[in-house]
């Protein structure tokens, strides 16, 4: 009988062969796991299936070195890896099968690229000889994920694995981080390598050379603008946290005395207690930060990309200001807002180089202007939200009470919608690296798996997921993952029985035509208990304090459902297409 090459490949055994005179040859799956260990991967979020089974067989041998966490849906694996990566700064690793396993990852990968989250997704694929034949669970994952990955690659031979994995981790982590997808055909997982396994970490690539240290002349031009500024305004983006540049940023703020505002993903990089911190930017950001964006003379933007939710109408955005843009991704320079002094480089390195060139400065009068706006915002919005006269609980009170109880030092993972904006507004972040949310993609269902991933990454920190009733039902199955792990993730559902943000827009811009936004919700507590997670519902203001205490005191995962005001709106608000200076307070 004749065997063709493909048939013989499937006969090869997964066991590593050791012999005296020949080098040790291992198969692709073992090479893959060893590569992960070389990259100091301790945790994998995954879900097995046909095309990835050889790798799962190999993991069985490495359980003492790698902690594999079985999620309940591949999207959960992606978001958990994101949460882990955002928390630790390490690369989040996912392992899933071909076809639906891969397509279920797509939302998470798209989320990771837009929020610059380092991730390596290893995905099984049908055997190479079946590619293009519409084989069972075959999908063109490479084609699908080109626009949403930093890099993707299909491995079809076991020999490629060590080098490609080294490249994958280098690309995911360096420069502006992002997701890398590695598609491994089943034959590459099964076949033996033709040479002995050796691993060399990738340290550079000829075609990809992210600039860490900015050019001196760019730094000097930036320093000149900052030193001459009368009304400088600092925008702190996600890049500060990614670069671990919080200390340098603090030194910058203290030397220059600039007021500092944060983007959504930049939250927690500067403590709310810092006298120079003036709030956050954008659509539901603070009153003063938005209005004074159009009155400052120099914007110093660090690690941010001028998202449309930050800028509002671009033609009326900060036209009076010169812009210093410190950013590691050269494609972000001038993409939205023209930079007068672009500084391409890592935020930490750029700030280190910038600091000695800056003059000591004082800007008390300019900073005091923010206070005037704060007073108005406080009177019109913040105080009524925090001390409401309504019968039902308001989201803001829950969040502020949680903030006080956790001393502003918990890791808060917010989902997407009104509760997210309320969390950003009312949680008083006092510790860096404490806020994780889906900013760019706005992925509902992000928070539950991401909070779990964050807790895996930082088991010693209190991790609280703030989730809306709509979002919760998008990835509710990950309660199973959390229950199985036993990790004490704290979950708060702010339940208003509405898709609140859409309802708010329908109220404000669509004449209250509430089109498909009201939810008939299940009994969340019963569901949680079904998963083995304890919880309770709080519907009355007088019970809120005890409810939060009970949740925080639990050493197990815990679900607290808070029934909140059904039709509250998030303000201030810069409506789409409006100018930041025209921010609405009601």
């Amino acid at each position: 009988m004749e065997f063709n090459e493909n048939q013989t490949q499937t006969v090869l055994v997964a066991e590593p062969k050791v012999s005296i005179d020949k080098p040790e040859l291992i198969n692709g799956s073992h090479a893959l796991i060893r590569s992960l260990i070389e990259e100091d991967v301790e945790t994998i979020f995954g879900y097995p299936g046909g095309a990835i089974m050889p790798v799962y067989d190999a993991i069985y041998d490495y359980q003492d070195q790698i902690n594999h966490i079985l999620v309940r849906h591949e999207q959960g694996a992606a978001h958990a890896a994101e949460g882990f990566a955002r928390m630790t700064g390490k690369v989040g690793v996912c392992l899933v099968t071909s076809g639906p396993g891969a397509t279920n990852m797509v939302t998470g990968i798209a989320d990771a690229i837009i929020d610059s989250t380092p991730m390596v997704c290893v995905i099984g694929q049908v055997a190479a000889h079946l590619l293009g034949t519409d084989a069972f669970q075959e999908t063109d994952v490479i084609g699908i994920t080109i626009p949403i990955t930093k890099w993707n690659y299909q491995i079809t031979r076991a020999d490629e694995i060590p080098e490609i994995m080294a490249k994958a981790f280098y690309i995911a982590k360096s420069g502006r981080p992002g997701p890398v997808l590695i598609d491994i055909t089943k034959n590459a997982q099964q076949e033996l390598m033709s040479k002995s396994y050796s691993y060399k970490k990738c340290e550079s690539l000829i075609s990809y050379r992210p600039r860490l240290a900015p050019k001196q002349h760019q730094v000097e031009a930036a320093a000149k603008l900052i030193n001459a500024a009368k009304r400088p305004f600092l925008f702190v983006g996600h890049g500060v946290q990614i670069a671990n540049a919080e200390q340098e940023l603090l030194a910058f703020i203290e030397k220059t005395d600039v007021p500092a505002a944060s983007t959504l993903l930049g939250l927690s990089s500067v403590s709310v207690d810092h006298p120079n911190y003036v709030g956050w930017l954008g659509m539901h950001g603070n009153y003063g930060t938005n209005v004074l964006t159009n009155q400052c003379d120099v914007i110093i933007a660090i690690g941010m990309r001028f998202d449309d939710r930050v800028t509002g109408d671009l033609s009326r955005y900060a036209k009076q200001a010169k812009v210093v843009h410190i950013e590691i991704d050269p494609a972000e320079i001038d993409k939205i807002v023209k930079a007068d002094a672009p500084v391409v480089g890592d935020a930490k390195k750029a700030l280190e180089m910038l600091l000695p060139l800056l003059n000591e400065n004082r800007h008390e009068a300019w900073r005091a202007e923010f206070k005037k706006f704060d007073a108005i915002e406080n009177e019109k919005i913040t105080q009524p939200e925090l001390a409401p006269t309504t019968e039902k609980i308001k989201m803001a009170e829950v969040i502020r009470m949680l903030s006080n109880k956790t001393k502003g030092e918990a890791v808060i993972v917010a989902d997407v919608g009104q509760h997210q904006m309320m969390t950003a507004r009312y949680y008083e972040f006092k510790k860096p690296n404490s806020f994780i949310t889906s900013g760019g993609l706005g992925t509902m269902g992000y928070a539950l798996p991401a909070a779990f991933g964050a807790k895996v990454g930082a088991p010693d920190r209190e991790v609280v997921a703030m989730i809306g009733d709509g979002c919760f039902q998008m990835t509710i199955q990950e309660l199973g993952t959390i229950a199985q792990s036993g990790l004490p993730v704290k979950i708060i559902i702010l339940n208003n029985n509405f898709l609140g943000m859409v309802r708010q827009w329908q109220q404000l811009f669509h004449q209250k035509r509430y089109s498909f936004v009201e939810l008939q919700n299940p009994d969340f507590i019963t569901i949680a208990k079904g998963f083995g997670i304890d919880g309770h519902t709080c519907g009355a203001r007088e019970n809120l304090n005890d409810s939060l205490d009970k949740m925080l005191a639990s050493d197990k995962p815990y679900l607290l459902e808070v029934l909140v005001e059904k039709e509250e709106n998030v303000f201030p608000m810069v409506p789409t297409g409006a100018c930041v200076a025209d921010i609405r307070l009601e």
């Binding site: 084609g143 626009p147 299909q154 690539l205 075609s207 990809y208 050269p330 494609a331 993409k335």
Partner: protein, 177 residues
């Protein structure tokens, strides 16, 4: 609308065309012409992409986005003035018995085009030149029946004395012998 020629140097591996075109598609930029082939350096491909756009700013942003593709070594955007460029066109012209004969002298001397294949009932003429020159010849030859016409993508070389090596000094190139 201005014509831009974008030269992209990439690793010569599977799927790079897809990685580049998706960047154009997403920004609703149409490809007017495209040529891809390996360069004088082993394993390095050169893409020559011609696009038309009203905004230079948008093209500059496009170039920076293409640069982000990991396999891309360098990207250059050029205006027509910056480059020497050409295309090649093949015309299959009907020459049935009894038809007006082709004026080969004019075709050769005026239009710098060459008959490269003879058949009983048709000839194939090859014309190299810019898009305009090719269409001038097209208009000239049109009275004879054009059975088939095909035009290649543009190939272009910059007028700058610098080469890719100047932009990537640390690269170790392997040249063909």
């Amino acid at each position: 609308m201005t014509t831009y020629t974008i030269c992209v140097f990439t690793e010569n591996t599977i799927g790079i065309l897809n990685k580049i075109t998706t960047i154009l598609t997403r920004r609703r930029i149409n490809i007017e012409s495209l040529t891809v082939s390996e360069t004088e350096r082993k394993g390095i491909s050169r893409f020559t992409i011609v696009i038309r756009h009203e905004s230079r700013d948008a093209v500059e942003k496009l170039v920076r986005q293409i640069r982000k593709v990991i396999e891309v070594l360098a990207v250059f955007g050029y205006l027509n003035n910056d480059i020497v460029y050409n295309e090649i066109a093949l015309f299959k012209i009907s020459t049935p018995i009894g038809a007006k004969p082709l004026d080969i002298e004019t075709i050769n001397k005026v239009y710098k085009a060459w008959v490269v294949y003879w058949h009983l009932t048709y000839v194939i003429i090859q014309k190299t030149g810019t898009e305009e020159e090719i269409f001038e010849f097209f208009d000239y030859i049109k009275p004879h029946e054009i059975l088939e016409f095909v035009r290649s993508g543009r190939v272009a070389v910059s007028k700058s004395p610098q080469t890719l090596v100047d932009y990537l000094p640390e690269a170790e190139w392997e040249y063909y012998q």
